[in-house]
Structures are given as structure tokens and as C-alpha cells.
């Protein structure tokens, strides 16, 4: 395949061109309550072409091989338009020419597991959720995605890498009269099917939690000091800071770029944040990004000071910083953009009990329910929480969303715990879905967060 892709770029008439071909194999088994809603395995494929001509850099995506010449023509026209209209001039950072084929480490290759076995396991976990008190229904899916990616550029790089993710995830829904509450659950990773086995206790616990939420009180809106659980600290890090470390978010906003200069102090001196997609067995793991660059660990913030940024070849050159291998696409329908992969807060010294004691009065918030970033503002939701009085956990609360501003919130982080957890699912939606956006960290104490209650 790599040779065939190389021949498609011959005589392309540009300083640089690359092409990526992907075959995406998806297995989906979906339950709503006890009803099996869907089951099957399907394959899709497609091409992404990018060209750099006279400083204009543009892309085109197509489904069919016979449309690849048209894609190249469109990308060339687009690049020429950028140049002719005084648009952004692009140079690419030099990177080593690589020839490699990467086969993923899999503890139980899901492709070799019969779909009947996947169905049996999903039905079993679904049954555990449904058997808990006051559970009305579930939405639970087994989702397996294998991406066989082949990448070639005109500099000679030719890389083939397969990434496989397997998850069982969804929500469990409890109901009492008109009150409906839900809790999310996700297990999985990028290291094979066997990770999904023997996880009964987690499903039982999540089912029970959904029922308990029926007795929780909605949080009252206002400003609170909070301790965030490891998963929620991960969501907070991803939304409150991570997106601003993606160079393509800030590159065309001069004022934001100035504020995000390396060496700037943005956080308190207790916080260190790392993006590391080389950690094996994690859902964020990969070796090469979607422009054939080997991914490297990056310390983004060291004791509150900005020390690194995530880059594509284009942005690395534009910023004069090191290329990091973070240009990643959802699949063959998209050109790569800069994505976080695995991002986490480094653990420190304090126990959870010490953090609660330091908190005094406030909220303990647990598990992420999605987040969003726009400009320097962000929000994220917690699945549930507890009121804390004098360092002791009190009644359970629900309906918790938090808002903050990048430039004021990170300096409000007062203490970091000594534990550590990484998520087993991704799902960041920055224009494209990234199912490999892992996140996590230890418990974290943050002062003065705005919580929107009902």
C-alpha cells in the first residue's frame, strides 16, 4: 500500500505533499435496557491529501481511489488561493525521514475474538447495571475500532501503523417518578480485549450510584472551594489548560499567543502538567502521528510555569519550537489537527484526607461529565459530588457544572494529591472526535470555582 500511495504523489507539482490512506474496521454492539439494538462489523476507507505550494498549505479528503487525482487538484487550487490572496505562509519543521511498520501490542486481539463472545460480555455487564435498585434502563455499547493507517510523504517518510481501541461504555439511568438521574461508565483501552474482562464490581458500583443520585440534592449555584476527583482533575486539566497548549488553538490570535509564551507563569507552583502518549497500555498511546512524526512526551507546565506546547510540523516551525508528534485526525474523513493524547496532572504529596482537611468547607466533586472550551473560558461537568463541612464528607449533590477562565483558574490550584488515575475512554470533540484523548491525575484542591446550580 505504501508504494501505491507514493506513486499517487508522483509529479504532484508542489514543494511538499503527503497522503494518508486508512481502513477503519468497527464492531458495534448496542443495548438499550435489555433490548439489543444493534450488532455488526463494518469497514470503511478513504484518503487525505495535503500539499504545500509556494507557502500555501491546504488539504482535501476523498472516499474513492479514483477521486485521489481530484483531491490533489483541489488541494493545489486551495494552496494557490491562499498564496494569491495574501494568506498564511507555511513552512514545515524538518523531521527525520522514517520508514516503519507498527503493529500494536494487544493482550487479546479483539479481531480474533468471536462477536458472540463480545455480545455475551456486554450483555453480562448490562445485566449487572439493570439489576441494581431503581434502575429504569441503560444505554451500553461494545465499541471496537481498528484503524490501519498508511502514510507517505514526498520527503520519503512511509509509515504504517495500526491502532486498536476497545471499550464497553454508556450510561445507566435511574428513575423515581418524574426524577431521572444517570451515571456514565466506561472501561477499555488500546491494549486489547482482555482489559475488558473481570470488571463486574465496577458495573455494580455504577448502577448503585445512579440509584443513590435519586436522593441527592441539586447543588446551589455560587462560588465554592472544591476538591476534584482524579478523573475530574483530568477533565479540568484537559479543558482548562490542555486545549490552550495545542498550538493551533492560539496561533492566529496574537494576544492569546503573547499570554501563552513559554516561560509565563499561569499556575500556582504546586501544579505540573504532562502530555505523554508514549505511556504503554493507555488509550492515548500511539507511536506516529498522522503526519509521520514520532510522538514525544511533553511537560506542558512545570510548577506553574509554561514549559512546552503540542505541535504539528507547521506550528512547530511557526512558533520556533520543537515538533512533538501531536497532529492527529479522527479518521480518513479529516486532515490532522493538534490533539492532546494522554494529558495528566503529576501527583504530589498530599493524601485525599489531607486535601479534604485543607478544603475545610466546600464541595468534593467526582467524575467527569464532559466539558467545553471556547477562547480562554471553559466549563466541565461532574457526575456527582458531596458537600464538605470542616473536612468531612456530607450529603450527596448532583447537577454540577463548573465554569472558569484559563488565566485566573490555574493560579487557584492550592494542593495536589498523591494518587493517580488515567481514563479508559476518550471522546474530545475539538471539531473532530478523538477517541484516544486520555486524561487523568490525582485529587486536586482548587479555590473559588463558579458552580452553576439549579
Amino acid at each position: 500500500m505504501l508504494d501505491r500511495l507514493g506513486s499517487m504523489l508522483e509529479g504532484v507539482g508542489a514543494e511538499f505533499a503527503d497522503i494518508r490512506y486508512e481502513i477503519k474496521r468497527e464492531t458495534l454492539i448496542g443495548f438499550t435496557g435489555r433490548e439489543l439494538r444493534t450488532i455488526g462489523t463494518n469497514t470503511t476507507d478513504g484518503y487525505v491529501v495535503r500539499v504545500l505550494k509556494n507557502g500555501g498549505f491546504a488539504s482535501a479528503t476523498v472516499t474513492r481511489e479514483e477521486d485521489v487525482p481530484r483531491a490533489i487538484q483541489l488541494a493545489l487550487e486551495a494552496a494557490e488561493t491562499i498564496t494569491a490572496t495574501g494568506g498564511k505562509q507555511t513552512l514545515l519543521e524538518d523531521t527525520p525521514v522514517i520508514t516503519d511498520t507498527v503493529v500494536p501490542y494487544l493482550d487479546g486481539d479483539p479481531a480474533s475474538i468471536p462477536i458472540e463472545e463480545k455480545l455475551r460480555l456486554t450483555a453480562h455487564y448490562n445485566g449487572l447495571l439493570l439489576d441494581q435498585p431503581e434502575i429504569e434502563t441503560t444505554n451500553l455499547s461494545y465499541r471496537e475500532i481498528g484503524r490501519q493507517k498508511s502514510y507517505v510523504n514526498t520527503e520519503g517518510t512511509a509509515v504504517s501503523e495500526e491502532v486498536v481501541t476497545t471499550n464497553i461504555m454508556g450510561e445507566v439511568i435511574a428513575r423515581r417518578g418524574d426524577l431521572i438521574q444517570n451515571i456514565r461508565i466506561a472501561i477499555g483501552g488500546a491494549d486489547g480485549f482482555n482489559r475488558l474482562l473481570d470488571r463486574d464490581s465496577e458495573f455494580i458500583e455504577r448502577g448503585r450510584l445512579a440509584g443513590r443520585l435519586l436522593d441527592a440534592e441539586p447543588v446551589k449555584g455560587g462560588s465554592y472551594d472544591v476538591v476534584l476527583s482524579p478523573m475530574l482533575a483530568g477533565v479540568f486539566t484537559h479543558e482548562a489548560f490542555g486545549h490552550f497548549s495545542e498550538a493551533d488553538i492560539i496561533e492566529d490570535n496574537p494576544s492569546l499567543r503573547e499570554k501563552m509564551a513559554l516561560g509565563s507563569r499561569l499556575g500556582s507552583d504546586v501544579i505540573t502538567i504532562v502530555a505523554d502518549s508514549t505511556i504503554p497500555r493507555q488509550i492515548g498511546f500511539y507511536k506516529y502521528d498522522d503526519e509521520g512524526v514520532e510522538v514525544k512526551p511533553v511537560t506542558l507546565m512545570d510548577k506553574g510555569v509554561l514549559t512546552g506546547r503540542l505541535h504539528s510540523r507547521r506550528t512547530a516551525k511557526a512558533f520556533g519550537e520543537a515538533v512533538t508528534g501531536h497532529a492527529v485526525a479522527e479518521d480518513m474523513r479529516y486532515e490532522p489537527i493538534i490533539r492532546m493524547g494522554t494529558i495528566y496532572v503529576e501527583p504530589s504529596e498530599k493524601s485525599f484526607e489531607q486535601l479534604l482537611e485543607e478544603l475545610g468547607d466546600g464541595l468534593y466533586l467526582v467524575d467527569g461529565k464532559g466539558g467545553q472550551t471556547a477562547g480562554e473560558n471553559f466549563t466541565f461537568g461532574a457526575q456527582y459530588g458531596f458537600i464538605v463541612k470542616k473536612g468531612k464528607l456530607g450529603p450527596m449533590i448532583r447537577d454540577i457544572n463548573i465554569m472558569g477562565n484559563l488565566f485566573s483558574t490555574l493560579s487557584s490550584i492550592e494542593a495536589v494529591g498523591n494518587d493517580m488515575e488515567l481514563s479508559e475512554r476518550g471522546g474530545c470533540g475539538k471539531g473532530q472526535l478523538n477517541i484516544k484523548s486520555a486524561l487523568g491525575g490525582p485529587h486536586v484542591l482548587v479555590r473559588d470555582m463558579v458552580v452553576g446550580g439549579v
Partner: protein, 434 residues
């Protein structure tokens, strides 16, 4: 498509092939210059087969091996997913307006000219950064089945989007123009945007409390998402809707009516059939506060013993890989009688929500929302004082939509699809940092 359908018909009681082809291009102009241009030509095919009351599904993007696709659907059938419905028969539908030749043929230079025209109208009139985005697209959707249906629609759209960033921030106000045909921003719309921007320049701190809140059209999806979830056939069938057993009852303010109008000729994405080939029509969901109609696809219509409502769409992600599910295309809130200016004058103290963050994070099924203002403008005595610093608005749709003060007399095309008026509510919780 026909060959695929013939192959599938040989192994099934009924078969359906859905196909989509999309051809699109876009340009981004950030801080005054073209920064990115991209193009995309995508296609795909989805097959559904019914046999002995069971359904099998399969899809691909590149139809190279029809036998394999049929084989995948047969394998899926072995899972024994029950399906009580049948595919719809032949339908005599009006011809759609088709794709606009101007949009169909539009190259990147012409698209740039339109985007640059927007930039020219805004340049020098605001202090902050100006970003302009433009795009064009043509889509063809077909559904054929073995019960005689053979329908196809071709549509086009061109959009222009202007965003004005407040100085030294990424917070912005924006305006969208989208139409089936190629064309410039309507006169006056950008002047309105500049005036809006200037009124939000000061940053103000606000005391937390309950006050009037106005949802602008681009933010109403916060509320409608929750109503859509509660009125979906899926939620009603699974008995997880707060509106369970409340059909025909008044559940919201009688000032509030919500419906879908996919076949509205005024709709740039006009559709005469949904993604299952069911004819579309004006479909009332909330009629003067009364829960009047559920949003149904074929499957849930059959399960609930109702007629299909022409609201089954492949919405979640790639169209061919997503199964049809209940979705209200061409969403509308019935307009009221007040102008936007009159509604602002009615606000003694309150917030105008121009953008939200986190609409997806709350307990959607229960109707709860808790969103960040991005931005929100603070109003006192009918006058905008500036944009709120770190503010959130929260509530439950079934509570806040009892307190409708006024609805704008004009429908605006929303960034999230559909056409909506601004909606002024009373007694909504606002939390802010002060």
C-alpha cells in the same frame, strides 16, 4: 444502489439502501488573512435488511464489494435484533429545489471573495480581532427499498460567519448567514453585529441571583436538546422521559410552541423525506405549552403504536454508520409579537445569553441545564451594561419554560440548525464570580 438492493432482496424479506454523497469546501480567515482552506468529497452506503422480524445492518463508504456488504448485514442479522416495522412504500413527493448552480460550481477564489467582502465591511470598525469563515456544500441523499420507495434529494448551502473578538480575549460575538444559494451577508446584519459588540465591550461583575434571562437563537439548543430528549420515542418507549404519560397535557407556558418543519420551502436544508424515506411534514411537538407529538423513527413509531412522523435521521457522526434515530429536522419555535429591542427594554435586571459552554454536560434527560455564558451581556433598566465576567445560568427546562415573558417576532437561522426567535424568561438562576 439498485444492484446492491437486488442482491440484498434475494436474502431478505425486505431491504433498504441509503446513500449519501457530500462535496464541500471551506475557508478560514483569522485575524484578517486566509489561514486554512480545505475540500472534502465523501460518499457512503448503508444497508438494512429485515427477515423474520429481525433486522441486520451494514455500511461502507466505498462500494467496492456489494456481496461483502450483504454478507455483513446477514452476519448482523444473526444477532437477532428485533424489528417490528416495515419499510415505507412508494411515495409521490414534490421535487426539491435542488442544488444551486452557483454553489455547485463555486471555486475557492469566489468563496474567498465572499469572505473578504465580510471582512471589508467590518475592518476598522471594532477594536478586537475579526475572524471570518465561509463554506459551500452540495449533498445528495437517496433512499431505495424493496417495497417500492425510490427517492432522492439534492441540496446546497453556502455560509458566511463573522466573529468579533473582544480585545485581548477569545470571547466573541458572531453572526451567521446561511442560504441555499450563493450570496453576500444581508444588508444591515453586520452593522447590528458591530453595535452588539460595542455594547459588550465593558466587562462587568454581577451578583448571583434569580433574574430575567434572554436566550438568543444560537443558544436555544440548550433548552431544545432537553425537550427533544424527553419527547423522543426512544425515551418514551423506555419510560425515562419526564413527559411520560403527559401527552395532551400542558407542560410548558402556553406562549411556547415547538415544532419541526423539514419541508419548509424557506429552509436551506429542505427535505421532503427523512433518512428512512418517510415523507416529512410540519410536526408539532409542543403546541401552546401542550405536549402534542413525539419525535419518532420507524422503529419507535411501531413500538409505541403510532404513525411515523418523518423524523428518523442518521445523525450521530458519519451518516452511513449511524442508525436512524428520532430527530426533529427544521426545528422552529413559533414567533411572538415583540421586537428584540422591545424585549431588552422589558428587562429590569437580567442577562442576555449570546453563547453557551457546556450545554451537553448536564442531566439532559431530566431537563437540567447549567451552562457557562460565552458571552452573556448584563442588562439593567433595559440597557446593556457590558459582558458578564465568569457567569453561569442554570435551571430545569420544565421550570424555566413556565415563565416565558416574551418571544421575538422574527425567526433567525441558528448556528445549530433550525430557525428560532429570541426567548425572554423570568426567574432564572444566574451564578457569577464577584
Amino acid at each position: 444502489m439498485k444492484k446492491l438492493l437486488e442482491k440484498a432482496a434475494k436474502v431478505a424479506d425486505q431491504a433498504e439502501v441509503y446513500s449519501v454523497r457530500q462535496d464541500s469546501g471551506s475557508i478560514e480567515m483569522r485575524n484578517g488573512i486566509p489561514t486554512d482552506i480545505s475540500a472534502s468529497i465523501q460518499s457512503g452506503y448503508a444497508l438494512r435488511i429485515l427477515k423474520n422480524g429481525m433486522i441486520g445492518t451494514a455500511y461502507t463508504k466505498n462500494l467496492l464489494d456489494r456481496d461483502q456488504l450483504v454478507s455483513n448485514a446477514m452476519d448482523s442479522l444473526k444477532g437477532e435484533v428485533e424489528a417490528g416495522f416495515s419499510f415505507p412504500g412508494a411515495a409521490d413527493l414534490p421535487d426539491s429545489a435542488g442544488a444551486d448552480p452557483g454553489v455547485e460550481k463555486m471555486g475557492f477564489r469566489e468563496l474567498h471573495t465572499y469572505a473578504d467582502g465580510v471582512l471589508e465591511q467590518l475592518r476598522g470598525k471594532v477594536e478586537g480581532q475579526i475572524d471570518v469563515y465561509a463554506g459551500r456544500g452540495v449533498e445528495e441523499v437517496s433512499v431505495v427499498n424493496t417495497t417500492g420507495l425510490d427517492v432522492c434529494t439534492r441540496s446546497s448551502d453556502m455560509y458566511l460567519y463573522a466573529s468579533l473578538l473582544f480585545p485581548n480575549t477569545e470571547a466573541s460575538v458572531h453572526r451567521l448567514h446561511i442560504d441555499r444559494k450563493a450570496g453576500a451577508f444581508p444588508e444591515g446584519k453586520l452593522d447590528d453585529l458591530i453595535a452588539l459588540y460595542k455594547s459588550g465591550l465593558p466587562e462587568v461583575e454581577v451578583d448571583s441571583g434569580r433574574m430575567k434571562v434572554m436566550f438568543m437563537p444560537d443558544t436555544l439548543y440548550t433548552l431544545l436538546w432537553r425537550i427533544g430528549a424527553a419527547t423522543s420515542g426512544k425515551s418514551l418507549y423506555n419510560r425515562i422521559s419526564p413527559l411520560q404519560d403527559k401527552r395532551g397535557q400542558r407542560v410548558l407556558s402556553e406562549k411556547f410552541s415547538y415544532y419541526g418543519h423539514a419541508n419548509d420551502p424557506d429552509n436551506y436544508e429542505q427535505r421532503y423525506f427523512d433518512d428512512e424515506g418517510v415523507p416529512t411534514r410540519k410536526h408539532m411537538v409542543i403546541d401552546q405549552g401542550v405536549f402534542s407529538g413525539a419525535i419518532l423513527n420507524l422503529d419507535y413509531a411501531t413500538k409505541l403504536g403510532e404513525n411515523p412522523s418523518g423524523t428518523g435521521y442518521r445523525r450521530d457522526g458519519e451518516p452511513v454508520s449511524a442508525l436512524p434515530s428520532p430527530y426533529l429536522a427544521g426545528g422552529r419555535i413559533a414567533p411572538g409579537k415583540r421586537s428584540l429591542a422591545e424585549m431588552i427594554r422589558e428587562m429590569d435586571r437580567g442577562v442576555i445569553i449570546l453563547g453557551v459552554l457546556g450545554a451537553h454536560s448536564g442531566n439532559i434527560l431530566n431537563g437540567d441545564f447549567s451552562v457557562g455564558l460565552n458571552p452573556g451581556f448584563y442588562v439593567e433598566n433595559g440597557e446593556i451594561l457590558g459582558r458578564v465576567r465568569d457567569g453561569m445560568v442554570a435551571g430545569n427546562v420544565y421550570d424555566v419554560l413556565q415563565n416565558v415573558v416574551a418571544i421575538e417576532n422574527h425567526l433567525n437561522t441558528s448556528l445549530m440548525g433550525g430557525k428560532y426567535p429570541a426567548l425572554l424568561l423570568d426567574d432564572v438562576s444566574v451564578a457569577a464570580k464577584k
